[in-house]
């Protein structure tokens, strides 16, 4: 099994997982009101469907900014761990953010990339990176030393636990299938933002 501590998963040997299942597994491991930023489309749909938490933020536009937004939250609240859930196509929109984060080294930031090689939500068109680029290799080349492919579900759990315990920045990529998001987030940006700020303790009342 790739989840054995000695085995290092690669793109080629990583099991193809499911975004919603991974999102549920991630949420189940959060015990300290960690903030989670869901990127545009399926990543935030599945975050929403996994069960709303006050510390969840759902992006409705600004494709590619889940990681920068999460980084900003991490800078503002250094005691809170912040996780960005981002799709592979979205990451391609803002690959440069990886070098910024590598330069700044926020210890409380974890990036989770869901890679199906597709723009699933727009009709399953392959991304320009599909079958060619390796996101973990890109992250490593950007200067992020803690980066890994999730070999399977248990390996994903282990990587998340390590990221939360040891500090980051950590970059975790998972190969996923082409299933669409399970639900649809309520699209009320002011409510999303206000709830999130209350969940982070920045706001105390509506």
């Amino acid at each position: 099994m790739p989840s054995a501590a000695s085995a290092v998963a690669t793109y080629d040997n990583a099991k193809v997982l499911n975004r919603f299942e991974l999102t549920k597994r991630l949420i189940a491991r959060l015990k300290s009101e960690e903030a989670v930023i869901g990127g545009i489309g399926n990543t935030n749909f599945d975050l929403w469907s996994a069960g709303h938490r006050p510390q969840n933020f759902y992006m409705l536009g600004s494709m590619g900014l889940a990681i920068p937004i999460a980084f900003g939250v991490a800078l503002a609240q250094s005691q809170r761990h912040v996780i960005a859930l981002e799709g592979d196509g979205s990451l391609l929109m803002q690959l440069g953010c990886l070098v910024t984060i590598a330069a700044q080294q926020p210890k409380n930031l974890t990036m989770v990339i869901m890679d199906n090689g597709l723009y699933q939500i727009t009709g399953r068109q392959p991304t320009p990176a599909a079958g060619t680029a390796d996101y973990v290799a890109l992250a490593r080349a950007a200067g992020l030393s803690k980066c890994a492919w999730a070999g399977d579900e248990e390996d994903f759990d282990r990587l998340i636990d390590a990221a939360l315990a040891d500090g980051g920045p950590t970059f975790i990529a998972a190969r996923i299938d082409d299933n669409p998001g399970v639900g649809t987030t309520d699209r009320d940006p002011v409510q999303i933002r206000q709830r999130f700020m209350m969940g982070l303790g920045v706001r105390t009342k509506v």
Partner: protein, 204 residues
């Protein structure tokens, strides 16, 4: 009647240069995170912010990213500002329209105005023409600042308004204020270095 170039040329040593006023006003308003994609006009501001331990200042790869970071920071309780040049503004309308405006994020944005008053690059001149129509179409507050004596008033009050109303504000710093960027051969900035140590005057 005010003539901007005369103000620059006759500035008294006791008057802080524009970039020190911006730095001081940001600090005074507890805006102490600054992300930027650089511009030559902003060199003294960027250098001073980096040198000031009260600020966390760093470059990003792209203006959208810089804006996303300060949006996240604000939601986490920390105020931030973004610096960019006119062409950088051309990259952010999607983020303004889909993040900053609909989520009511009081982003504080400084744009070094290129493309006018002796611009030498047609690309800059054209992108400059897109900036104000974009801001107007999004109903984003903006001020073109030309006068040194109005700078602190506009920036200070507009930051307070941005925070109070949860709405972004864009400060377009005109070459009339900053000296702008001219032909490379001319040496760029015409403004003198500060003659007083503002950091000492302001204290920590």
């Amino acid at each position: 009647m005010h003539v901007g170039s005369i103000v620059l040329e006759t500035a008294k040593p006791a008057i802080a240069p524009w970039y020190e006023i911006v730095q001081h006003t940001l600090k005074h308003n507890d805006v102490r995170l600054v992300t930027y994609v650089p511009d030559k006009v902003f060199i003294p501001l960027i250098e001073n912010l980096h040198a000031d331990p009260d600020f966390l200042t760093f470059a990003t790869a792209r203006e959208e990213e810089a804006l996303g970071i300060v949006a996240g920071a604000w939601m986490g309780g920390r105020r931030g500002a973004v610096l960019m040049q006119t062409s950088g503004f051309g990259t952010i309308p999607n983020v303004l329209a889909s993040l900053v405006v609909p989520y009511q994020v009081p982003a504080i944005i400084f744009v070094s105005e290129r493309g006018t008053l002796r611009e030498f690059n047609l690309g800059q001149a054209l992108v400059c023409r897109t900036m104000r129509p974009v801001l107007e179409s999004l109903a984003v507050e903006s001020h073109t600042i030309t006068r040194h004596d109005e700078l602190e008033f506009i920036v200070d009050r507009s930051i307070k308004q941005a925070v109070a109303t949860q709405a972004a504000v864009v400060f377009i710093l005109s070459p009339l204020l900053t000296g702008g960027k001219m032909f490379e051969a001319s040496g760029g900035l015409s403004e003198a270095k500060p003659t007083i140590d503002l950091a000492v005057r302001l204290g920590p």
